[in-house]
Subunit: 128 residues, 2 copies
């Protein structure tokens, strides 16, 4: 098998779906992932999606588009998407490529992404 | 790069580390993962490790040993390990192979694994 046959697991944690990308995402996998996330949102009524890319060392325009489409699909189903764990080098490359991922919120790690979605940071004293 | 160079991300969620395995784990990756988990436990004083294998369709004796060693290492650092999301077919194969993963707790999915580690089914997180 190798990197081909498998799918990317979509985990549910409370009201949030968590997806951890590792290595490269091939065409078929991206479509499958988008489908899985969308149907899981509809089924389980989650309100947020966290996509961890700390294991990804290259975000190209293909992956950028996949992420944006996942976020757009989730948004249509009333779920917010946060991209977590982007490596600094990836951020630099994205800016150089002019891919600033509009419409995607980001967080330094999954824990902060969860807090962002929960709307109440653990140490936050200020409430709206 | 491809399936080779990358590492498996170890995410922290509250008091728990979460690792999502996808596809195959090569020798070097297994060692790296074990090292990462152990050092993260020591650094961040987490009390549990959840390894999600819902994206894994074959658990052989190598992976079985890796998982057992991760759990043993975590146990020495006072963290409990739960294996989450095992596919039914994987469970059947493991039994046929006589690999019943002694010393590893299991849960149907990550959410239940978190609950198991929290020891309290509703509110997994420490509240102030």
């Amino acid at each position: 098998m190798g990197g081909y046959g498998f799918t990317v697991p979509v985990l549910r944690l409370g009201d949030v779906l968590l997806v951890t990308l590792q290595g490269e995402l091939h065409d078929g996998m991206a479509e499958q992932l988008q489908h899985d996330i969308t149907s899981r949102i509809a089924q389980s009524r989650v309100t947020g999606v966290v996509i961890d890319i700390s294991g990804v060392d290259i975000v190209d325009s293909f992956l950028g588009r996949v992420l944006a489409e996942i976020a757009a699909g989730a948004g249509l189903l009333a779920a917010r998407t946060v991209l977590a764990g982007m490596r600094p080098a990836v951020a630099i490359t994205l800016v150089e490529l002019g891919l600033t991922l509009p419409g995607l919120r980001t967080a330094l790690d999954v824990e902060r992404a969860m807090e962002l979605l929960a709307g109440d940071p653990r140490d936050g004293e200020r409430s709206p």
